[in-house]
């Protein structure tokens, strides 16, 4: 797969990436495609640590010069951490979307899994279809 959307991550149709961590935790960010479509990011806000999330709940907001965009939790869980550098340097999301530009860490609820998410190939097919 292309360099833009790494093979070791999972993806959502709403353009988040998900990295599976140890202990039932995941890290979440926005994809290369998403940050490029949004343009220069100038503001990011993550929801409070400890917040209970249902799958599909907003857990962060990223704003480019042009527009605000909600970021959704792909599974139910608890928000463990928000990336502390985003308040001062939201542009890190453009520069390093899969590394320093991560958004939130979530502990998945027992019984929830990532089976419904897309792999890199499926995500890029989705993009090719114009979503």
């Amino acid at each position: 797969m292309s360099h833009d959307h790494p093979n070791d991550l999972l993806y959502t149709s709403s353009h988040e990436w998900v990295r599976r961590e140890a202990n039932g935790e995941i890290t979440l960010g926005v994809t290369y495609h998403a940050q490029e479509a949004l343009g220069d990011l100038v503001y990011a806000e993550t929801y409070p640590v400890g917040k209970r999330l249902e799958a599909g709940d907003t857990c962060a907001v990223v704003e480019s010069v042009k527009a605000a965009s909600d970021v959704y939790a792909p599974v139910a869980g608890t928000l463990l951490a928000g990336n502390p550098v985003l308040a001062k340097t939201p542009e890190i999301i453009n520069q390093d979307p899969y590394g320093e530009g991560w958004l939130v860490r979530i502990r998945m609820e027992a019984g929830s899994d990532l089976a419904g998410l897309l792999d890199a190939a499926a995500y890029e097919r989705l993009l090719a279809e114009g979503h």
């Binding site: 343009g39 220069d40 100038v42 503001y43 806000e45 907001v61 010069v65 042009k66 527009a67 605000a68």
Partner: protein
């Protein structure tokens, strides 16, 4: 299917990301809106604004007609000068805002917003019925805006040094017909610059020549943040047919003198003035984090909605968010913007926020 300007393929080659604006596929940026914005504030940038409408007004009664049609008075300008004005409906609402240039021939050239071309032409044609005047849309002409403190220095690359010298002698809001096309010292960025109307071939040649000379293109994204920092209204967002110029911070563009000039919309504006203007358009900024966006409500200390943001964005020259808002009645001393149900304190600032490279609003250090 959206239309394109004659420069579409050249934009593509320059790396443009496109957006549908008023039915045209236009470059929104060529990689980074912020870089393009700062480039225009500090140097120079080239905008394709060929989606805008150009209309020539000719005939023995061209002046009389425009003095009837426009809220500002073309009687104030001599040939070679430009004037900003609103075109009003009979209720005093803004049909469009435009720039009209008085040509040496006694004719006029009017530049209209892309989304309003058709409506404007209908309104103007209706008002023109009693006058000996012809209205000629000029879709054969494209429009470039060369903007920024470096615009003067960039002229020669296309115009050659002799003509560039003549153009750099133009004062703000004046214009010159050249062998290439029509050049006005006008713009929509708050910086020095030129707007240049050219036929399709020359338009393509001018754009390519400037790009090859090292001038970089800027998209509509930067154009929007530049105009907002400059405190300039955007039609359809900060004003429309339901708002009057008196409610849109544009009273200065309405020429009530001479008192016997019966311009379209005058009676309604006078009645509004007598009754008291109900709403005002104000400038504001967020001293803290967050981004103002159009349609956010503003509330007072009691939580009452006192107004609505009409334009809001991150301001690249400032590093924080600014906006314009329409306020109902008196503007309270303190107000808060409702952003995702949370209250963020705002500060008022009479626009512009940035003009000719100067920052006119307290920056983070100053507050």
């Amino acid at each position: 299917m959206a239309e394109t300007t004659p420069l579409y393929d050249l934009h593509e080659k320059a790396g443009a990301r496109f957006v549908d604006f008023a039915g045209y596929l236009m470059p929104v940026h060529y990689g980074s809106q912020i870089e393009e914005h700062l480039m225009v504030r500090r140097g120079v940038g080239l905008f394709d604004v060929s989606h805008m409408g150009i209309l020539d007004v000719e005939g023995p009664e061209a002046t009389a007609f425009l003095r009837r049609a426009l809220a500002n008075d073309v009687g104030k300008i001599s040939p070679g000068r430009a004037l900003y004005s609103c075109l009003l409906n009979d209720q005093g609402g803004v049909v469009d805002d435009l720039v009209v240039y008085a040509l040496p021939t006694g004719a006029y050239r009017v530049v209209l917003n892309a989304a309003r071309k058709a409506v404007d032409q209908l309104r103007l044609a209706t008002l023109a019925t009693p006058y000996k005047v012809s209205l000629t849309p000029r879709p054969d002409l494209g429009l470039l805006a060369l903007q920024g403190p470096g615009a003067v220095g960039a002229l020669a690359a296309f115009f050659g040094s002799t003509l560039a010298e003549r153009l750099s002698a133009l004062r703000s809001f004046t214009a010159l017909e050249t062998e290439y096309g029509f050049v006005g010292r006008t713009g929509y960025t708050g910086e020095d610059g030129f707007e240049i109307a050219l036929s399709t071939d020359l338009l393509r040649r001018a754009f390519s020549t400037w790009i090859e000379s090292g001038v970089r293109p800027a998209g509509l994204g930067a154009r929007d943040t530049l105009r907002l920092e400059a405190g300039l209204n955007l039609y359809g967002q900060d004003m429309d047919e339901t708002t009057s110029p008196l409610e849109s911070n544009l009273a200065w563009t309405v020429a009530f003198e001479p008192a016997d000039r019966d311009f379209a919309g005058r009676a309604a504006l006078e009645a509004e003035g007598r009754a008291g203007v109900r709403r005002t358009l104000v400038g504001l900024y967020l001293p803290g984090p967050g981004i103002l966006r159009a349609h956010q409500d503003l509330v007072d200390g009691d939580g009452r909605v006192v107004g609505t943001v009409t334009s809001g964005s991150y301001a690249p020259s400032l590093g924080f968010s600014i906006g314009l808002a329409r306020i109902q009645g008196e503007c309270p001393d303190e107000a808060w913007a409702l952003i995702r149900d949370r209250r963020h304190p705002v500060r008022w600032h009479h626009p512009p926020f940035v003009r000719r490279g100067h920052i006119l609003v307290p920056t983070a250090a100053g507050r």
